[in-house]
Symmetry: C2
């Protein structure tokens, strides 16, 4: 007979999921009600309003997709890409590659703009791609690359797309709630995110928002969207229908309670304060890591505060370090992906996990573990360096 599952109590400082606040966990376990219950519909409306605040948009087509971030990505591409459409896809990490897959699976033509992993999307290359190709329908790029920890200049990239009459699809999975994002101000047409990063909710929901321009393009599609579940015309009838909601699918009731609570917490803190908090604790973590002699993959100007890709000291088996952190400190940090596997760790400071206790735990656990393994690091400096930031 299988036993109930009791998870260990971890500190989550990987690339996500991040630590979930007890308030959000408590909301998650409130009694389930019907997805057509008037009280649930009232809650859905509040979720939409708070999500508009988080994305900085007034678009009524702002809602959570009932599935993880990869489904949010797919919701954007499957609705906006029709067979034969040209899409400029910027790739500077794992998730640009997934965007290419999306374009091609829906019959589009992906025009790739490649930048090295660990560097941002180069606006000049995007300009050149537009100059070399006519009738480009969409520009797609990742705002905050979770695989490398790089922030790209979304505002400038959107401006280039607008100058060329193209729509934009922007991945903000790791930026929403952690880095400046202004969906309406920057003119983003389709944006998706995840709940398990800087919003500190369990994974499983993907907030999205579409501009009026994007909605018009969706409404004028020549072919039926090759997905029933993600057909935004149908989803809008459910989420956008007010009192006259048309049944589409059964919403994940409890997951939405949790998402609601995480948005209440964001509203209480204030969006700009949340961005500043991520930057502040990043500074302390950086000071500690650098004092230890551990360097960053990404140049400072493009570095994400919430996702720190740092070099593994030479001669150290990075997987062994992660295993020891988990076994001895219940601390999770992330491995490198793709070409960066074995070379970097990804240390997350996202949402609720972005706090002083976690910064100090991570620094001391890492220092002790690396010292015991005989790694060439500078000892006994990291905590003081971080504390200096905190008392500055």
């Amino acid at each position: 007979m299988t036993k109930s599952f009791y998870p260990p109590l971890r500190t989550l400082m990987g690339p996500g999921p991040s630590d979930v606040s007890p308030r959000v966990l408590a909301a998650l376990s409130r009694p389930t009600i019907g997805h057509l219950d008037p009280e649930f519909i009232r809650m859905m409306d509040e979720v939409k309003e708070m999500l508009q605040y988080a994305f900085k948009t007034s678009s009524p087509l702002t809602m959570p997709i009932s599935a993880p971030g990869s489904a949010g990505m797919e919701a954007c591409f499957v609705n906006l890409v029709e067979p034969g459409d040209k899409v400029i896809v910027c790739q500077n990490g794992v998730f640009g590659g997934r965007m290419k897959e999306n374009v091609e699976r829906f019959g589009g033509i992906a025009i790739m703009v490649e930048d090295e992993w660990g560097t941002p999307v180069d606006p000049a290359k995007v300009e050149a791609a537009f100059a070399a190709n006519s009738d480009v329908k969409l520009l797609a790029f990742v705002h905050a690359e979770t695989s490398t920890g790089v922030l790209s200049d979304a505002k400038s990239l959107c401006q280039i797309a607008q100058n060329n009459g193209a729509l934009t699809i922007v991945d903000t999975v790791t930026s929403l709630g952690g880095s400046e994002l202004d969906v309406e101000g920057w003119g983003i047409d389709a944006v998706y995110s995840g709940t398990q990063k800087c919003l500190s909710c369990p994974p499983g929901i993907s907030p999205v928002s579409f501009s009026q321009r994007a909605v018009e393009v969706i409404e004028q599609r020549e072919s039926k969207t090759p997905s029933w579940f993600l057909d935004q015309k149908l989803v809008m009838g459910y989420w956008g229908g007010g009192a006259k909601r048309a049944y589409h699918h059964t919403a994940p009731v409890n997951s939405l309670y949790a998402f609601h609570e995480s948005l209440v917490m964001l509203e209480e803190e204030g969006l700009e304060n949340a961005w500043a908090r991520h930057q502040f604790h990043h500074s302390a973590l950086r000071a500690g890591l650098e004092a230890m002699g551990i360097g960053f993959l990404v140049e400072e100007a493009y570095r994400l505060p919430q996702l720190n890709s740092v070099f593994v000291p030479e001669g150290v088996d990075e997987a062994e370090v992660r295993s020891k952190l988990l076994a001895n400190y219940n601390l999770e940090i992330g491995a490198g992906l793709g070409a960066l596997a074995g070379k970097v760790w990804r240390i997350g400071l996202m949402g609720s996990a972005c706090n002083k206790q976690n910064v100090l735990l991570c620094l001391s656990a890492l220092e002790n573990t690396l010292s015991a393994m005989g790694a060439n690091i500078t000892k006994d400096r990291a905590i003081a360096a971080a504390e200096a930031v905190y008392s500055s």
Copy 2:
């Protein structure tokens, strides 16, 4: 400033979600861990094993899709249907119509077999459809139609498909855990379900299982699956990969804790006992409703115990009754859909909600509400009739 959301405490006797056990709610709110954590991977393996038990299959390709039942449906169709494929789709309610949408959106040709809403799929019509069409790749039908409360003879329908060399896709959203289902014994090739019906978990996850034959067809596809999120070749690498799991998407960690706990509870009760419990409480509810003079839409032989479609007494505004039940008793029952809107209610007895307290609450609340509205019903008999079943 938006306030935290505290849902009312409802009794859920609609078409789903059903009441969620406090054990499952408690599991849902356990601390989040990483989706690649060794402890989480161990839990995933237990979920797979218990799901094999629930579906009665030994297929290793048995796993939960990280999205609601409609995505589970789509996972079956998007992987198995290629452009030009002929699919016989049986429609005797809402969900057969959604299957047709799925077939056509993926470029298949849907050959419709229609039966009246409230009646089961007629095997003779399916035989005739196979006789009239060559090279049919798939037969798709709904085992337990949530929109009407009808059970179709899945075993016979699968046999017809096998005799004609076709694969089967079967919707068991409302049957899993509530009515006899034998995926391997009946030779079902692709099956999907939901968590929010007879498994009494919150909505948001869709268990699926594929036979070896189905997997071979998926592996030999000529075109790439037009979905990245639901591409079963990729999902299998994640759920089927054992220790060497390939990252695909971030699993909905907490929702899977809850699903795990609901499967532990099913194992503890025993699958056959769960089926018998649904039948037993249905008998009591039926006795009470009939004593009140309320009749059933579906003939007894095809009636789902967990979803009771009953006629609204003449002259009664059915929506007003449902509003009063919700306002005065915190009791949710379901409305009729499509052609049955306004004519029937759908009373669910699913999973944890399938118990004596709920049966008695529903009968007395309905009787009091209808009496107060002056409906022509027989009074003061329903509870005694139900109690007679319980003491028999």
